[in-house]
Symmetry: C2
Subunit: 204 residues, 2 copies
DNA sequence: CCGGAACTGGACTCGCAGTACACTAGGATC
DNA sequence: GATCCTAGTGTACTGCGAGTCCAGTTCCGG
């Protein structure tokens, strides 16, 4: 139906949906080619093996996720120029977004990949690593900007605080998946948001 | 070497180590029987299939984890009877314990199972769910005890706060696995500990 | 009209899960 | 001392999914 979109990205779409629902290993190539209406030969024409598929999926996913964060905090910045309030608005938007996800979870490919380690080669693992380090850098910078204006009520490790955004999202998604509830991740984000408020109570 | 320990639990030991290192699907029965020095037939005598193995592993893991929490917070309680300080000490002990893990990660079977969903039957998924709900209940009760004495500086959902302990641990372990660092989980716990301090600043 | 990109289709190998079953070693029971 | 049960061994088999190989096809631009 979506011919001009290219077979390659159609494969990625089908595969991503299947992987998020059932996990990487549980998704067979058979099933992907059936969904994409191509032959097995066609699949291997685009991807050397399942590992190459994983890599392409991760690359695309990370790009989308980064664009999403860019957009989210850009919108937050428009609403309020103060870095603390920008962060608080951004976290609220993030929580709302997680809540509005139709099926309840994008499931985060990152954690999925992290827990199925040995199925992938070093390249995939490194991609994963770089993505998380990127988010650490991003959020760390934001928190440092906040700390220049607001005095932290307790001393905190800024790298760890940056990681906590990713960690709380990932952890929330794990809970959500396991519990089969639908708003754990967004609640965890909102709880983290309260933390940020308490951590930066007043200007220097 | 450890004959009297029983073949069954020897299988579980070997399997758990392999699964935590490489993930469930990447661990073959071949490899388990080689490690446990038994025949394939012997394996299937104890476990109907891989799913039964997963279930037994989870059951054992959850039991150990619960015993660990019991012990940890019992020790904390001995050191200080006040519920807030007991929580703060307990979290510190938890962080220290996570840091001292030799290889750096127990990896948490829970998340691993959550992300490989469809490999397991409903029974395994439910086991997982019940474990997390159990921790929610446990920590929720502790936070409510704290809230009776200390006034929360911001209103929080107590279920979500209880979940946050599990969430922060799980999220920290995801980061740790993906980043190949060794102390992310313990740092995240310590950051959460600071949160608890800020959330309950003074008695009613 | 030619060549390359994007496939189709089929045949094959290999590793792993799971089944089936015949057999055995050692201890408890009667 | 025969009998039975538990806890295995060993072998042979099915079936699935990944990955390889390759010969042929379709379509599109130069």
């Amino acid at each position: 139906m979506d011919q001009k979109a290219g077979t390659r990205s159609r494969i990625l779409d089908i595969a991503e949906a299947a992987v998020l629902e059932k996990g990487f290993e549980a998704t067979s190539i058979e099933e992907i080619v059936a969904g994409a209406e191509i032959s097995r030969g066609g699949f291997f024409y685009h991807f050397k093996d399942k590992n190459a598929l994983a890599r392409a999926m991760l690359e695309r996913y990370i790009e989308v996720e980064n664009a999403l964060y860019d957009d989210l905090f850009a919108r937050a910045r428009e609403l309020n120029d103060d870095p603390l309030h920008c962060m608080l608005i951004g976290l609220k938007l993030l929580a709302e977004m997680l809540e509005e996800m139709p099926t309840g979870h994008p499931g985060c490919v990152i954690a999925s990949a992290a827990y199925q380690d040995r199925l992938f080669d070093e390249g995939v693992r490194d991609l994963n690593r770089q993505a998380i380090l990127g988010w650490r850098k991003r959020f760390r910078a934001m928190f440092e900007e906040i700390a220049e204006i607001y005095e932290p009520s307790e001393p905190v490790n800024m790298d760890a605080l940056g990681d906590m955004v990713s960690g709380v999202v990932e952890g929330g998604l794990v809970l959500q998946r396991a519990l089969r509830e639908h708003n754990n991740a967004s609640e965890q984000i909102m709880l983290f948001r309260t933390y940020v408020k308490l951590l930066f109570p007043r200007k220097h």
